[in-house]
């Protein structure tokens, strides 16, 4: 009798929303295979992607619907049999093969809640290494790696950690910003669903480096599956002695709480997140003091994005220098780019900095889903500038993007084809801010609402020139006066739309008011 086959069916939000649970059930009902619920490999257009272990390889089929299961069985998919949905060995799919998987190395590979599998794939070797080398050693490696905050601002992580480490306080905190609200982004979610123990490990290392004993993960409430998986992961880590008091006999105590947001974009801004964590309304605090000096409950606090923290274990395990070998100039390492919008192959691409936008969209993404020409790309979420098709050769590098008034942000890339109405997109940027502004400072609170109205007047061709000037001044006021990046950056997509696509703001032909 042959041993039972192992079949991987992702338990990840995009796969589940496409029927992964039903597929897993059908396979379990109709075969004697052992089903492992892994994370996603990040190839969303292939989800639900089912993998079968055949020999030393994992053979992929996708996208699989429950109705496909009978056919797959007939095709003997448990032995890698031929089928229309057969994708071949997973690791050989070019989309995956051509990536630089560093942070996402285990994502999709294992059952995220299987501690043994995590350890087997190098998990907790970063933490073990950290506990041996001491806080100073950790800080040194993080600085050497050149790692910058992956939440969008790109602040050097090592310097931030050093500030918290140097602060004197009876209590310090490590907080993880998992309020992934930027449109077109999903890397935080994929990591927390596919390899949550890596985030936990990264937070423990951060706590060890700065002298914090408490960690908080601030997760957006729109991710119920993520919450479920992450909460279980915390239990798994605690049960294994990797979280809580006296971690692995090291004498170091660190524990993590998961906290849910309540549906506010601005709570992804670090100070608003801290307010929300403290149980208050999510409004911006002015800086200084920086959170690193006076953060959560007034104590020195590390605030980092999920990907930043999850990048750390491997940096410590492999050394900062190794990480810094990836990337270009001051943009070291890799970023998990997320392809979304009008793109044929949407998904997650972890790639070293320095890759071109065109490479990501055309080679990985396969161009637009509609097959029409690309007209604009918005990088970095709803506050990111629109990059016109003519600039697609720009390299993904924090400084290069800043030069053209754009930003990489959290690495979300949203593609638009030539049917897009950029005036409507500009209006949407203001409208988004008008809905999501915390309401604290004048420029953001009032500017966004009135920005929508001014754009409406422009679209309606009322006093067009005067209103375009007014829009420009309004944008200045928001940029110069806003308390945080929400109001300060909302003008970027608006201005880029006006600058690169002025024709969309022109009256329809024959309308000469």
């Amino acid at each position: 009798m042959r041993s039972k086959r192992v079949v991987y069916v992702p338990n990840e939000t995009s796969a589940v929303s496409l029927g992964a649970n039903e597929v897993a059930e059908a396979i379990a009902d109709k075969t004697d295979a052992v089903i492992v619920r892994n994370g996603s490999r990040g190839m969303c257009w292939l989800e639900p992607m089912v993998e079968v272990v055949v020999g030393a390889e994992r053979i992929a089929y996708g996208p699989v619907t429950p109705e496909d299961v009978d056919g797959l069985i007939e095709s003997d998919f448990l032995n890698g049999g031929k089928h229309d949905l057969l994708l071949g060995p997973t690791e050989e799919i070019p989309y995956l093969k051509n990536q630089d998987r560093w942070t996402f190395q285990r994502c999709g590979l294992i059952n995220p809640l299987d501690l043994a599998a995590y350890l087997e794939h190098g998990g907790f070797s970063g933490l073990t290494h950290a506990l041996e080398s001491g806080p100073r050693g950790v800080l040194e490696q993080v600085k050497k790696s050149g790692l910058r905050g992956r939440g969008g601002a790109g602040f050097p992580t090592g310097i931030k950690w050093q500030t918290v480490a140097d602060a004197k306080a009876d209590q310090k905190y490590v907080t993880c910003n998992a309020d992934e609200g930027d449109s077109g982004t999903f890397s935080d979610r994929m990591l927390m669903e596919g390899d949550p123990l890596t985030l936990i490990e990264g937070m423990i290392i951060a706590g060890f480096a700065v002298g914090a004993s408490r960690g908080y993960v601030y997760l957006r409430s729109e991710y119920p599956l993520t919450r479920d998986i992450f909460e279980k992961a915390l239990k798994v880590a605690r049960a294994g002695g990797w979280l809580g008091d006296d971690i692995q006999g090291s004498g170091f105590d660190f524990d993590i709480d998961l906290h849910l947001g309540a549906g506010s974009y601005v709570c992804g801004e670090e100070t608003a997140m801290l307010e929300s964590l403290e149980g208050k309304a999510g409004v911006i605090r002015y800086k200084p003091p920086l959170p690193a000096v006076e953060g959560l409950f007034g104590k020195p606090t590390v605030v980092n994005n999920v990907i930043t923290l999850a990048s750390v274990p491997n940096i410590i395990a492999m050394s900062g220098d190794r990480y810094a070998e990836h990337g270009v100039d001051r943009s070291k390492g890799t970023l998990a780019f997320q392809l979304a919008g009008n793109v044929r192959r949407g998904g997650l691409v972890e790639k070293a900095f320095g890759v071109s936008l065109r490479n990501l969209i055309e080679d990985f993404g396969g161009g637009t889903a509609s097959g029409r020409p690309i007209r604009a790309v918005q990088v970095g979420g709803p506050l990111g500038a629109y990059v016109p098709a003519a600039q697609l050769d720009i390299l993904l590098d924090y400084e290069k993007f800043a030069e053209i008034g754009a930003m990489i942000g959290h690495g979300g890339i949203v593609v638009f084809d030539d049917t897009v109405d950029m005036a409507a997109q500009a209006r949407f940027a203001m409208e988004f801010c008008a809905i999501e502004s915390c309401g604290k400072c004048t420029p953001c609170r009032i500017g966004a609402v009135r920005g929508v109205e001014v754009i409406d007047r422009i679209i309606a061709n009322e006093n067009r020139e005067a209103n375009l000037d007014l829009l420009d001044e309004l944008c200045d006021t928001m940029i110069d006066g806003s308390l945080c990046a929400m109001g300060g950056m909302t003008p970027f997509p608006v201005r880029s739309a006006v600058k690169y696509f002025p024709e969309d703001f022109m009256p329809p032909a024959g309308d000469n008011k």
């Binding site: 601005v266 002015y286 604290k440 400072c441 609170r445 009032i446 966004a448 110069d480």
Partner: protein, 721 residues
Amino acid sequence: MSDTDVTIEVDGVSMPATKGQMLIEVTDKAGIYVPRFCYHSKLSIAANCRMCLVEVEKAPKPLPACATPVADGMKVFTRSANAIAAQKATMEFLLINHPLDCPICDQGGECELQDLAMGFGRDISRYNERKRVVRDKDLGPLVSTDMTRCIHCTRCVRFSQEIEGLQELGTIGRAEDMKISMYIEKSVDHELSGNIIDLCPVGALNNKPYRYSARAWEMLQREAVSPHDCVGTNMYAHVLRGKIKRVVPRENEAINETWIADRDRFSYEGIYSGDRLPAPMLRVDGNWTEVSWEDALAKAAESLKAADGSSVGIVSSPSATLEESHLLSRIAEHLSCSNIDHRTRCRDFTDQQNDPVMPWLGCAIQDIEQADAIAVVGSNLRREAPIIAHRVRKAALNGSAVSMVNSNEYEYHFDVADYEHGAGLVEMLAGIAVAACDTLPDSIAAVCDGVKPSAGQKRIAKSLRKAESGLLLLGNIAARHEAFSAIRALAAAIAEATGATLGSLSEGANSAGAALAGVLPHRGRGGKKRSDTGLDVIQMLDKKLDVTLLCNVEPDADILASANAVKQLADHKFVIALTPFASDDLRECADLLLPVGTFAESAGTYVNCEGRWQSFHGVANPVDEARPGWKVLRVLANLLQVPDSDYQTSEEVRDELKNLLGDIEPDNRYRGDTPIGRPNGADAPDREIDVPIYQVDAVVRRATALQLTPEAQRTRAVAED
């Protein structure tokens, strides 16, 4: 030059600053005005209005002066083209939603938004879509709202969080739906809540009783001092054609900072109550008839002359001015009368010979903040002296261990270290004394006999002993207590043993002044012991005196020791009352009513609990025939042929007393050594001897809006039970 000193340059002028200071503090100090709405020196920094944007060399964007720490060598431009452009842009935004209702807005003419709009606004808006409209809140009888005018500076919110310690107001909603609001609709009830009216830079929060009754520019601003507690809060009365229209704070960092209590702000309504006594009245054959001032004073003098000094009694209010007290004291002296008292709310005079020269806080009001341990004994502090309560709260926030000892538990909005309550005051204090004293002084040995201190009492004793500057404060409830003698001796022993300062709060605005002037049966002027101790207020009531002079006293409401003061007084032969109000009480028991002005209609001086003399002029015209009390007493003194009583001004009266007193050092040390007996039932814990905050004097009792507050209604309901 220490390493915290830095030099910055503002508009080309170099100036010193301290590292970490915010730019706006430096420019404010240098008299350089940077426009602002949300910044307030007494509140935390919010940096939300963005009006104070200035240009800083090398900064890529304009920076908010309120939230930008100074750095050495920083070059700041507050009036450069860039700075002005940023300020104007913010102003343009703020005016988009602000209604153009200045002509009907009470804030008009004294509005920060209006002023800055003059300086930074455009004459025509480039945004002409619909303005935002917000439904008004009902914040109760004191504060009116026009929330559409709100610019979201959040000063009111920060005030309620930081100064009151009670989050009465907050922001709800976000973006343009953000509103200043209650979470659940209710009124603002804190005793300092009216200050949000002054803090509001626009007309969103206004003075409700004052609403639509005057314009800011047509009123005269006159200095006044609060008559309602021992703090001596500085305030301005805003007067239109001789009538007070409203009261606002007068900044005095040493006393009330920039705050005043609601009681001080809204009490003026009582001045114009419908039952003001319009003219002198005489009871003739049981019927009240109006008489002229001449006849009235002649009648008063005649009755006093006819009586023997020992059968004359004088009961004066603890809020009588120093001048009134001095003249009463002189008249009594002239009549050889020692039956004179101002302690209308006290009950226990058995140890009065050991009273200090005057009731004294033991320190300056602002020093309370520096005390590292405070025990407040026998006090409903927030109601008795809201400003002192605020200072105590600040001390607690500074890290001071603040404990409370009181039979009833009152609410405080800070962490009270220990709250001893539920038992009698003497019983609880005895516990602390036993814990604090190595050997008990003779005076309290009997009271402490067999007492075992509780854990909390031990902690309070320990915290006072550990403190570098401990403070033990006796409140009004302690002073009114039937076993006050024991309480005072115990408190003194605790203070002595722990090294804490002993301080006390006193009734009314001028208990200290009355004591100095000698309005006491056992002490003359300056605390001089009388050879013939006269009758105290309780004894006077009991005796059927020939002539009794009441000065600003409404017997049933003000004299606490007797349950039926009016009935007792009715048995006195001839009762003269100097009073602003023709209350039923007085109509029942008095024979001659002389209309005198309230605090606002008379010049005078109050000596506050820290011993500070504060003189003031009359700020409002006297109502009807009312005359300032000191003038009435001065004429009475003339008619009685009191020598050298031809005073022309209130200052003459004050200065005469000042000279007579010479230097008096207040001293709270207790010198009594005779054993004080056990309280024998006088220490029952359930006895309610608190006076509700809006019942403390005749003016407050008549202040309409204050009487409509939930606080007033609650205490009235308790009283009627």
